[in-house]
């Protein structure tokens, strides 16, 4: 399953860091961050529930870039 979320982050490198961090979260098969459109595309593993995975993604992103936000 693939979902797109709006994000808030203020530099291109921070967006890259978020992408790397989100890709390491359990339940995420792949994640790409588009800094220019401020969108995050997340592809979830089979059976993973976005409702439980996304808070973890946000937590991981906050860890690398405290100023970021993801609306889900």
């Amino acid at each position: 399953m693939k979902k797109t979320y709006n994000i808030d982050v203020d530099c291109a490198n921070c967006a890259n860091k978020m992408e790397t961090a989100a890709n390491k979260v359990a339940g995420v098969r792949g994640c790409t961050v588009n800094f220019m459109t401020l969108k995050m595309n997340v592809e979830f593993e089979e059976g993973a529930d976005p409702k439980t995975v996304m808070p973890e993604v946000l937590k991981a992103c906050k860890k690398v870039e405290s100023d970021c936000d993801i609306s889900f």
Partner: protein, 623 residues
């Protein structure tokens, strides 16, 4: 932010005029320093707490704090450098966010085709505003002048003019009348339209395009990946170098019995750190690609990712499909030959037999017939790829197709001398003559081929399922280098693969098709370009680049955009790394001071951003 920069700047100037020395001076200068840099220090501290060392906040915090400490230690009280480092860094950041915001805005304005609501007409005639998502296919919606058409459909009532420029880049408004197909995202300029929706919003053109644009960064180019990878090794490497620069020379000179000059070397190391900040690269490269993709989409060229932009810049062979790509694909019946029965009856039978097919040829026969098709008269339809159609109409067994079909059915036929597509008709196993259908070359096709050659494309090739004579005539008219005719869909894939295997390394092959039956070739080529992709889902899926209108002249334009964008990206990479390496060497030797370092960081960043934004602008006209 701007206020903080001004406040810190003014304060810095004033403080330089105040004759205070010693600790008091340090405390006073700490004021502008904290005003401008408190958030950086905070972020750096947070980063350290979370084990995220070595980001640009950390670099800046260490460099400026270090400069501050040196100023305190050496007693001369020159705090300007420490404050200036922060001041310029923040100015650069501000500039970056303004530039990014601006280009984000200008691109999202281009892509501002998402309709906010749809006015659905209920059965009792009342009109209600609803979310486009909630409109089922087959509903009747009303579009007032000035509104966007929210969902694909057909006009049921009313006529008007549509602005499709956001979709196709075509500035000329299009006139529409009842029965015409309208595409979501077009703006209704005049006249109230009542539209019968043919799809749901999620399946509509506008959703597909938005999805495509928004996901375009998910496929990253090699250059972009290079920068990400580069930044990952780069920061730790320069930090260790800086540390070595601060520690090794003093220790060595201590051992050698000379004065260690700690302050001097630490200053050099700090300068080194400021220079090394990789912002210019990590910001300007993605920005350059984004601007390139944005500039292309403004021209009605949708590119699915920066990797395709990169591939397109290296293209040297362009393979075209003929029908619908180089030619209009709107066929007209040009003549009927050797027909023993009434010509009208022949067309009627052929139109019915061909009616289940969506092929442009069958459409043209149906148009020539001119009346509506009665489905009840047709049965046992059998489509034979690359040959034609067999069906039973009014109890007669009809075979309509090319010479191969006739041969397969054992029907003796007459070859035709006319240029065009020939549909031979057999009725109950007897030859009933043939219909000549001709297609016209698009007005811009020849210019497009010429434009490609002018842009250094080595070879143009045309593949077609059409007759040899027709194919060669078109290829000659357009000055296409190679032509392969009478290919079945599988044959096109085979030919494309053959051409691909002959490609030189470092050059790519692009295939241009109209997407109707080219999907396998589109996905097989290095770059698949779909033309007139609006409404053809398969094309949008399979292609890497979608040209929204039918204009082949957009292909050389796309190549030019790609080349320009890649040129800008490479210039930025070379410029940023070049300046930084030179300044780093100068800094290590003690020639560069903190001011030069700030230029090497912020100045390069600003220049690279300005350069990257150039990719947004597309020069018109054929080079």
């Amino acid at each position: 932010m701007l206020f903080r920069i001004i406040a810190a700047g003014v304060l810095l100037v004033v403080l330089n005029l105040v004759p205070v020395t010693g600790w008091a001076r340090a405390v006073l200068f700490a004021l502008p320093y904290l005003i401008i840099g408190y958030d950086i220090l905070l972020k750096a501290a947070k980063g350290i707490a979370k084990g995220q060392l070595l980001d640009e906040n950390f670099l800046m915090a260490v460099a400026s704090l270090g400069a501050f400490a040196i100023a305190v230690a050496d007693g001369k009280g020159d705090f300007n450098e420490a404050v200036a480092v922060m001041l310029f860094y923040q100015t650069g950041e501000l500039f970056e966010s303004v530039a990014v915001g601006k280009s984000r805005k200008s691109i999202s304005a281009l892509m501002d085709i998402r309709p906010d609501s749809a006015s659905i007409i209920r059965e009792d005639g009342s009109v209600e505003q609803v979310d486009p998502d909630e409109v089922p296919a087959g509903s009747l919606i009303q579009v007032d002048p000035g509104e966007k058409i929210p969902i694909d459909g057909h006009i049921e009532e009313g006529s008007g003019t549509l602005d499709t420029s956001a979709l196709t880049g075509e500035s000329l408004p299009r006139e529409v009348f009842p029965g015409d197909e309208v595409i979501s995202g077009s703006i209704n300029l005049s006249g109230r339209l009542k539209v019968r929706t043919s799809r749901e919003f999620g399946e509509s053109t506008v959703s597909k395009i938005l999805d495509l644009v928004e996901n375009s960064s998910s496929r990253k180019s090699r250059s972009e990946n290079f920068i990400t990878g580069f930044a990952r090794v780069y920061t730790p490497v320069v930090c260790s170098l800086a540390l070595a620069l601060a520690v090794l020379p003093p220790v060595i000179s201590l051992i050698a019995g000379n004065a260690p000059m700690w302050g001097d070397w630490i200053y050099r190391a700090l300068t080194f750190l400021v220079i090394s900040c990789p912002c210019a690269l990590v910001v300007s490269i993605p920005l350059g690609f984004f601007a390139g993709l944005g500039g292309a989409s403004r021209e009605g060229i949708l590119i699915k990712g920066s990797n395709f932009l990169e591939a397109l810049s290296k293209v040297d062979t362009v393979v075209f499909d003929k029908t619908g790509t180089l030619t209009k694909g709107s066929f007209e019946v040009a003549g009927i030959h050797h027909c023993p029965i009434d010509e009208k009856l022949l067309i009627e039978l052929a139109a019915h037999a061909e009616s289940p097919s969506s092929h442009p040829i069958s459409k043209s026969i149906q148009r020539a017939y001119g009346y509506s098709i009665e489905q009840g008269r047709i049965r046992d339809v059998q489509e034979i790829p690359g040959q034609g159609i067999c069906a039973v109409v009014d109890g007669k067994s009809i075979a309509a197709g090319n010479e191969r079909l006739m041969a397969a059915r054992g029907i003796a036929f007459h070859s035709c001398h006319s240029t065009g597509t020939i549909v031979h008709i057999g009725i109950d196993g007897e030859y009933a003559g043939h219909i000549v259908i001709s297609d016209r070359v698009k007005d811009t096709s020849a210019a497009a081929v010429k434009g490609l050659k002018a842009n250094g494309i080595r070879k143009t090739v045309m593949l077609t399922g059409d007759a040899d004579k027709v194919g060669r005539a078109v290829a000659k008219e357009l000055a296409i280098d190679e032509v392969y005719t009478e290919l079945l869909p599988a044959g096109k894939v085979e030919k494309a693969e053959q051409l691909l295997s002959h490609q030189e390394k470092g050059h790519t092959l692009a295939f241009v098709g109209d997407g109707i039956n080219d999907a396998p070739v589109l996905s097989r080529a290095d770059i698949g370009i779909a033309m007139g992709g609006l409404g053809s889902d398969a094309a949008i899926e399979a292609a890497d680049i979608v040209i929204m209108d039918d204009d082949p002249a957009k292909i050389p334009l796309a190549v030019r955009i790609a080349r320009k964008c890649m040129g800008i990206v490479y210039t930025n990479i070379a410029f940023a790394i070049g300046v930084k390496v030179i300044c780093m060497v100068l800094g290590a030797l003690g020639i560069a001071n903190m001011w030069l370092a700030v230029f090497a960081d912020v100045g390069v960043l600003i220049l690279c951003i300005l350069n990257a934004i150039r990719a947004l602008f597309v020069s018109k006209g054929n080079k």
